[in-house]
């Protein structure tokens, strides 16, 4: 039995920590971009349907799996899954629940450190008097490590901060940050949304009213048939999946510190809807109205083709400067502060499953486990910092932050519905529930959610093949005429393949540790039996 004695301080603390785990940079940078690229208002109907048919069932499943595992002293997915079926291979599926957290934390902490640097840059006036192109090129030089002191110092500071908070435990660290960070994030978001809604054509260089951007975002697409488009549904399902942080193993870990009779149904709904509030209400009200207000629709469509990071880090600081020095500082600090809180509440959740595993299986104390996690994230994250321009960051994001999540979620829901059994599963969900869980979710978990996940997974297979075969890099090589460019692409190929080998090694090492832990458990149970 585990000696892990972690405990949540309060129910509100747990819900805010869970909501903080889900709320990330994607709520503000990915969601509006996905909505724009998939028909604006038309995107919202599939989005909400997917939230009810896939998001909520997955939340119920992960919360109940966690609480179930916690009853047996398991606080990470390998042995939570192991306890749910007599088939022993499930613990190796659970390896994803540790691997994903570790690998995502490795690049996510770097992303988080950008927000810290941009808070500082906003205060120091780095973007003051600069053109839009100059602000954008500052981002390029930052990630290209032209002046490495600031990027590396901010990254290490971020890592130390995460590790220190984790070393304070659940109630003394994670929960306290969630209780401060989440209300501040919402407050900053409301302030920025008010500022965005007040953008008026002709004032401070704006070319459109805020309503033009909002209209663009929320207008149902011209073609009625768009709502049946597979591409739109696929994007909506993908967004719901990534925004809720399901398929990672962190929800199970947080929930494993709950007792048998504690509610999970109302907690899961509250945390899930808090994430949706931040995404739908705040996420849609900041970046697009401001960007369309100043740059026009065509420019924004062009910019969103490469995702939301560019708009958030390269464009918004320049646009804030149009509001005058004082407001530029306030809005810069609020925007990047908001992103920082969104990031840190998620990265802390990534640390707890790794720590839980070390504490449960190898008897580590909390503090060494936290510092070891910090050390691992440093080592694994180093290539993403040093070789960002060679695609290492994107490679981690694809394999750990996309592929592993979908695969793990698909397998865990099959385990829950068909190996653990829906009768027991439904009992787990409803035991101690403070709300009546509609029976329809039982059928969603059995049929609709696995089918949707399978569909998402199958639709991603062509991307998977293109990724494995490095199609994009070879296409670029075929077009390249300059020898230097070809050489750079060859180097990129080397780094991309190298990072895959590294990630595979990490997965294998965790699987080996799970095997060692399993042998230890078998030995301990044999010793107990012989006594």
């Amino acid at each position: 039995m585990s000696e892990n004695k972690e405990q949540w301080g309060s129910r509100i603390g747990l819900v805010l920590a869970m909501a903080g785990n889900a709320v990330g940079l994607g709520n503000f940078l990915r969601f509006p971009v996905q909505a724009i690229q998939n028909g604006g208002g038309t995107f919202m109907i599939p989005y909400l349907v997917c939230f009810f048919a896939m998001g909520i069932p997955l939340l119920f499943v992960e919360w109940s799996m966690g609480r179930f595992g916690g009853k047996y002293g398991n606080h990470s997915t390998p042995f939570i899954l192991d306890k749910m079926s007599k088939f022993k291979f499930w613990k190796y599926v659970g390896v994803f629940g540790i691997f994903t957290n570790l690998a995502v934390a490795a690049y996510y902490c770097y992303l988080e450190s950008w927000t810290l640097s941009w808070v500082w840059n906003s205060i120091a006036g780095t973007f003051s008097g600069k053109s839009q192109a100059e602000v954008a090129s500052y981002f390029g030089s930052y990630v290209g490590l032209e002046n490495p002191i600031m990027p590396i110092a901010a990254w290490i500071l971020c890592l130390l901060l995460n590790t220190w908070i984790l070393s304070r435990g659940l109630s003394g660290g994670v929960e306290k940050i969630a209780k401060i960070g989440m209300p501040l994030l919402i407050l900053f978001g409301i302030f920025l949304a008010i500022m965005a809604y007040n953008v008026k054509a002709g004032v401070n260089g704006a070319v459109n009213d805020a309503s033009v951007g909002l209209n663009f975002l929320w207008k149902p697409a011209n073609e009625v048939g768009d709502i049946f488009s597979a591409k739109v549904w696929m994007a909506a399902a993908g967004q719901i999946f990534f925004t809720l942080s399901v398929g990672m193993g962190s929800i199970q870990c947080y929930a494993s510190y709950l007792k048998k009779r504690d509610d999970i149904a109302l907690n899961a709904m509250t945390a899930g809807f808090t994430n949706e509030f931040v995404e739908v209400v705040l996420g849609s009200s900041i970046i697009i109205p401001i960007a369309v207000g100043y740059l026009g629709i065509d420019n924004v469509i062009e910019m969103t083709k490469t995702g939301g990071l560019g708009l958030g880090f390269k464009t918004l600081p320049y646009l804030f400067e149009q509001w005058g020095r004082v407001l530029a500082v306030i809005c810069g600090v609020f925007w990047f502060g908001l992103l920082f809180f969104a990031g840190i509440t998620s990265s802390l959740a990534m640390g707890t499953p790794v720590m839980g595993f070390l504490q449960d299986e190898f008897g580590w104390k909390r503090q060494p486990a936290a510092w070891f996690f910090g050390f691992l994230v440093f080592i694994l994250g180093l290539p993403t910092v040093l070789f960002f321009n060679y695609g290492v960051f994107d490679e981690y994001d694809y394999w750990a932050g996309t592929f592993s999540l979908v695969l793990f979620a698909l397998l865990e829901i099959i385990l829950f519905a068909y190996f653990f059994g829906m009768k027991k599963g439904w009992e787990e969900i409803t035991t101690g529930a403070d709300i009546k869980v509609p029976i329809i979710f039982k059928y969603f978990i059995m049929i609709v959610t696995p089918a949707l996940l399978l569909w998402v997974f199958i639709n991603n297979l062509p991307n998977l093949w293109a990724q494995i075969t490095n199609q994009a890099i070879y296409d670029e090589m075929a077009k390249a005429t300059d020898l230097n460019q070809i050489w750079e692409l060859r180097k990129k190929l080397w780094f991309v393949n190298g990072s895959r080998i590294l990630l595979l090694t990490v997965w294998g090492a965790i699987a080996y540790l799970v095997y060692v832990a399993y042998r230890k458990r078998v030995k301990a149970s044999l010793t107990n039996e012989s006594k």
Binding site: G9, R11, M44, W218, Y257, L258, D262, L266, T270, I435
Partner: protein, 49 residues
């Protein structure tokens, strides 16, 4: 704003905000378990009161 966009925006935000506040309110006001030492939250433990 166009009527369709405005309806879509207000109804979506309304549904999401409504459910969020409802669940939050319910969570904050629900009675704790009879024996608070049996729940998971250290702040509810008798010795901390």
């Amino acid at each position: 704003m166009e009527k369709g966009a405005l309806i879509m925006m207000l109804s979506t935000m309304g549904i999401v905000a409504g459910f969020t506040f409802f669940f939050f309110y319910k969570m904050m006001t629900v009675k704790p378990k009879v024996d608070s030492d049996e729940d998971s939250y250290s702040e509810n433990d008798t010795e901390n009161k």
